[in-house]
């Protein structure tokens, strides 16, 4: 992780929310390339709102979002989608669609609305299916899959976009422990071997501590703590952010901080 490189994604004085309700107020955040950032915080703290506004899925109320140093609002929306992939929580499973058809949708921004699928698109889809271990399930219907398999299909769709930045909203929800670990390893692999930048909302603090380079703790739409897992996951922060009385110990396996509620 280098701090001298310019951020790939940045929020400056960002306010965001739904309709007139302000959920995130005057927030500034910079995301360095090839890092994994975890957004943590209690329910309603603005994590998802922040993530969706960074992805330009939600319209910002004030301030600006910069993607590769350019205001994201000035980029054409397909251009944004070629650089930044997002997996929202509000995804709707289309009844009857197959895994392959879903993953194919990830190619939309590269195709533009009028073009046909080409060989490179097939390659991108194949890689996305392989990375998520879904190749044998490619022709299965989504509504016949387990919750975990379906979640991986959504991740595969986002990977098929072949973007440099991935924003994931609670990607480990619905996954059993095995698949949670696999997904977190996939995220690390994407950072280390493909140079991806990942920002994700996580509920499991220990997961954040273990797999993120940086943890941003939000409460009431403000950043209360921002830094390495060790800097952020202290018993003081846990009390001020989550109202939880906790002990922080060293994880005997990873050496990262491990949080145990008292």
């Amino acid at each position: 992780m280098s701090t001298t490189e310019p951020p790939v994604l940045a929020a400056r004085g960002l306010s965001a929310g739904h309709a007139r309700r302000v959920v995130v107020a005057d927030l500034t955040l910079e995301v360095r390339p090839r890092t994994v950032t975890a957004l943590v915080g209690p329910n309603g703290s603005g994590k998802s709102t922040l993530l969706m506004t960074l992805a330009r899925v939600l319209r910002r109320q004030a301030g600006e979002v910069l993607l590769d140093d350019r205001p994201i609002d000035r980029l054409p929306s397909t251009e944004v989608a070629r650089r930044l992939g997002v997996l929202p929580q509000t995804a709707v499973v289309p009844t009857g669609a197959t895994v392959r058809e879903l993953v194919e949708q990830g190619r939309y921004p590269q195709l533009g609305p009028w073009a046909m699928l080409r060989r490179h698109d097939d390659g991108a889809m194949r890689r996305a299916l392989e990375l998520t271990g879904l190749t044998p399930l490619a022709d299965r219907r989504l509504d016949s899959l387990s919750g975990g398999e379906r979640q991986r299909a959504w991740i595969a769709m986002t990977l098929a976009q072949e973007t440099g930045v991935l924003l994931l909203d609670e990607p480990t929800t619905y996954l059993d422990v095995r698949h949670q670990i696999d997904l977190m390893r996939l995220v690390e692999h994407l950072r280390d071997d493909h140079g991806l930048t990942v920002v994700m909302v996580l509920h499991d603090l220990n997961q954040a501590a273990r797999h993120a380079d940086r943890v941003v703790a939000l409460r009431d739409g403000r950043v209360l703590a921002d830094g390495t897992p060790r800097e952020v996951l202290t018993s003081g922060t846990l009390r001020s952010v989550f109202d939880v009385d906790a002990l922080v110990v060293d994880d005997p396996v990873t050496g990262r901080p491990l949080f145990v509620a008292r």
Binding site: A97, Q105, W114
Partner: protein, 330 residues
Amino acid sequence: MITIIKRVELPGLAVAALAVCVLAALCLGEPRLRPATALAALTDPAHPLRVPVWEVRLPRALLGLVAGAGLAAAGLLLQDVLRNPIAGPELLGVSSGAAVVVATIVVLGLGVPLVVQPWAALAGAVVAGALVLLAIGRTRDPAHVALVGAAVSAACGGLVVAVVGLGTQGNVVVLFRYLLGSLAARGWPHLETVTPLVAAGVGAAWLLRRRVEALTLGDDVAAGLGVPVTRTRVAAVGVAALLAAAVASVCGPVAFVALLAPHLARRLLGTVSTRRVLPLAVLLGGLLLALADLASRLLLYPVELPVGIATTLVGVPALVLLSRRTAVPA
């Protein structure tokens, strides 16, 4: 492999079925003709049977085909863009709203030229559709939307009855046409009015197909893929309204073709992908309406039923089946 064959062969089969259907429409009825005679009458302007074949049966068969194709495209757009499997212009009040306006023009003899009538119909379609959208508010429950749509359609049906009653006492053909939908007494001018609009609407649906397909994944996912969500939804609903209005201005609010054709195409192709379903749905819509018209002409011959009766008789059981299936939470 099977799916590849399906995708090539099914549209081919549908086109062949359409040709057979049009030929049957040329031959059947009074006088009943051999196919060779019908074809001779088509090609020879001086043929003694030129009038029934060329002036009556051919434009009517083609109109069924074109109108059905337009309705199918409208239904597919509405179903996918509203993520409501039982959406269709007839279930959103759009078709019957259009029919009220055209019935008024025709019955009261307002002297609006035929080519302008689809646009007047569009105004009625938009008003009725907007009423439905306002009444449902923020709900996304498919059954709720269909219920409100049915109520607005019923109100429009009442208006049609009132208008027809006010004007020409007991004009059954006009009443049938604008209440249920009918292809009776339609000829070349009607076909010429509706065909360019249907062609434009189906073309627009083709251009929108990928964006519409992305919308089936949810608004946020679609936005994340770079799809302009609101613009796409407004465009698709607008195109569907134009298609439904154009068809209703000529044939009335023919029900259930828009609902059934896309579902039939999905079932046959084994996919819900908008861009894969669209071509076959359009062909099947044409086939369904042309077949239904043939049935309505011949079933109780010499009495002719409005085609809307035939489509409704097939459509209602299908709608019941569909709503039972969608009652299971997705």
